[in-house]
């Protein structure tokens, strides 16, 4: 019986192939747009994660802090915020000299003015602006601490950029979802109406709504699956073209691709069921 429904779906598609192909291309266009945003978001997320991994909080210590007090502070920071690396005054000066490059420029400096510092690599859950700001406030309360820096404005903007991209993807995703439902709903509605005499005969013979609807639903699901596959192909080609210009552009992970396809199919299924249940009621008793 299952093969019968697939044969019926194929028969319907063949008989109204113009309608079906139009639907596939319309869906492909909408899904490509959605996929493009998904690809951008994924790449932005990947980039932000990479940048986020490099985020750290630098805590400058007062010069008169004893080794014992310093070790106590390190232990507290490690427990509360993440991995801590101690940079002594000498090490800081050495790094500074290396960065300047020409030691002659620093001849006038008689005494090392740089403080010792602690570099904290924050835990992943703290890698956002509000958490980093709160952590900095807390650390500033330590009597051993001279100052805390973590590039607050930079972190805030990075977070805002990530959030904006996610919001944009969601908005485009919602619009595309509506477009999918609209296209499938109208395609199936037109297909069923074009086959109205056949549907009526089936109904007179005692076919249940499910029996009549199943081939149309299969047709819609197949159209959505083909459209999603085409859209993924377009995105893959796009990524390939862009990767030649921009280093580090990645394609969607397999799980995202499957979710993308699954989402399109689920929406098509819902739209088809909705369309055909309405049309069947209008076709007659």
């Amino acid at each position: 019986m299952r093969t019968f429904f697939f044969r019926e779906a194929w028969r319907s598609f063949k008989q109204h192939r113009g309608l079906g192909i139009t639907a596939i291309f319309s869906l492909s266009a909408a899904l490509s747009l959605c996929g493009l945003f998904l690809l951008l978001t994924h790449n932005a997320d990947t980039a932000l994660l990479w940048i986020g991994d490099r985020r750290e909080m630098v805590i400058y210590l007062k010069d008169d802090v004893s080794d014992a007090r310093r070790d106590a502070v390190i232990e507290s920071l490690r427990r509360l915020y993440g991995d801590v690396t101690y940079v002594s005054k000498d090490q800081a000066w050495k790094e500074f000299v290396e960065q300047v490059g020409d030691p002659g420029l620093l001849d006038a400096v008689e005494q090392n003015p740089l403080p010792a510092s602690l570099r904290v690599k924050l835990r992943p859950e703290l890698l956002n602006y509000p958490s980093m700001e709160e952590a900095a406030q807390q650390v500033r309360q330590f009597p051993e601490v001279e100052d805390v820096r973590y590039g607050a404005e930079w972190v805030r903007r990075l977070d805002e950029l990530g959030a904006s991209l996610r919001r944009g993807t969601l908005a485009v995703g919602a619009l595309v979802a509506i477009a999918i439902v609209f296209v499938i709903y109208n395609t199936i509605r037109l297909t069923v109406l074009a086959r109205r005499p056949q549907v009526e005969i089936m109904s007179r013979l005692g076919a249940t709504d499910r029996f009549i609807a199943t081939p149309f639903v299969i047709e819609a699901v197949l159209e959505a699956a083909i459209a999603a596959a085409l859209a993924l192909g377009v995105l893959f080609g796009f990524r390939h073209a862009v990767a030649a210009q921009v280093v580090g552009v990645v394609f969607l992970p397999p799980a995202w691709g499957l979710a993308f396809m699954g989402g399109a199919i689920a929406l098509a299924w819902i739209a088809a069921v909705f369309a055909i249940s309405r049309v069947l009621r209008s076709v007659g008793p």
Binding site: M1, F4, R7, Q198, R204, L205, D209, F211, P285
Partner: protein, 277 residues
């Protein structure tokens, strides 16, 4: 099996049926004879629940009155075999596929069971050799025989025929009527509506006249007709059928009535079944 109790049907202001009461029993042949617009097709549409009566009660087997849900209505229709004047075959399918559709619609048979049932029905109507033909390749008489094969393939308890010879020339009409008589003779109840006296006479059944939605002679209005209980399959006499028994028209719990007739095995010289495509 089927009874109408004081059934009235109006389409807006127009009165199609006026307090019509009648009944038919299992295995009976009833022919409604009346001119065009007398209410004959309305009567059939009430039986198949395409429309609802304005008042009165229509009983078909255990489906008694009221508005049926869509699944119930589908179930009711699967227990009937319906033949239309205009055949209502699907033009994009072969004769075999048209008949097979009715089997598949029951949802109770594997693909391997569909083929012998369809071939048997086609053999009964003499169309086995034309199973791969499309309706457009058939004569009107052959189309009607294909429609009859579709109607009988599930062994319904009752056949409804809406002017089955209306679109046929004399010879084809005679063949179709002979076929219907034979099917009725094998046990199936037959309800036919027609405008032609000679068709009614040819069926050798109970002829009920209908004019302007009424029974002019009062026939079928006997008191027992309006108070008869729903048909009880268990108490019904066995049908005189030597091929496959007509099932009882029983709705509960599912379309089990159709199970009454196992698919007959086609003869050994059966033509190979076409692959439905």
């Amino acid at each position: 099996m089927i009874s109408f109790e004081q059934v009235t049907k109006r389409y807006g202001q127009r009165l199609a049926l006026d307090s019509l009461s009648w009944r038919m029993d299992e295995g009976e042949c009833v022919v409604f004879l009346g001119h065009s617009g007398a209410g004959k097709t309305t009567l059939l549409r009430l039986i198949t629940h395409e429309i609802q009566p304005t008042s009165g009660t229509v009983t078909v087997g255990t489906f008694r009155g009221g508005r049926l849900s869509r699944p119930q209505r589908a179930l009711l229709r699967r227990t009937l075999g319906i033949i239309y004047e205009d055949f209502r075959l699907l033009g994009d399918r072969t004769v075999f596929e048209n008949v097979a559709l009715a089997v598949r619609i029951t949802g109770r048979f594997e693909e391997s069971d569909v083929i012998p049932r369809v071939l048997y029905a086609l053999d009964e109507v003499g169309l086995k050799s034309m199973q791969t033909a499309y309706p457009s390749e058939l004569s009107a008489g052959e189309k009607q025989r294909a429609a009859i094969a579709r109607a009988i393939v599930n062994r319904p308890a009752v056949l409804l025929a809406d002017e089955p010879t209306g679109a046929l020339e004399r010879r084809s009409a005679d063949e179709v009527l002979a076929l219907l008589r034979r099917i009725h003779g094998e046990g199936a109840a037959l309800l036919m509506v027609t405008t032609r006296q000679e068709v009614a006479d040819a069926m050798n059944g109970r002829v009920l006249r209908i004019e302007e939605g009424r029974r002019p002679d009062g026939e079928g209005l006997a008191p027992e007709a309006t108070s008869a209980p729903a048909f009880d399959a268990a108490q019904a006499p066995p049908p005189a059928l030597d091929v496959a028994p007509a099932p009882a028209l029983d709705a509960a719990p599912a379309d089990s009535a159709l199970d009454a007739a196992p698919a007959p095995v086609p003869a050994a010289d059966s033509a190979p079944a076409p692959e439905a495509s």
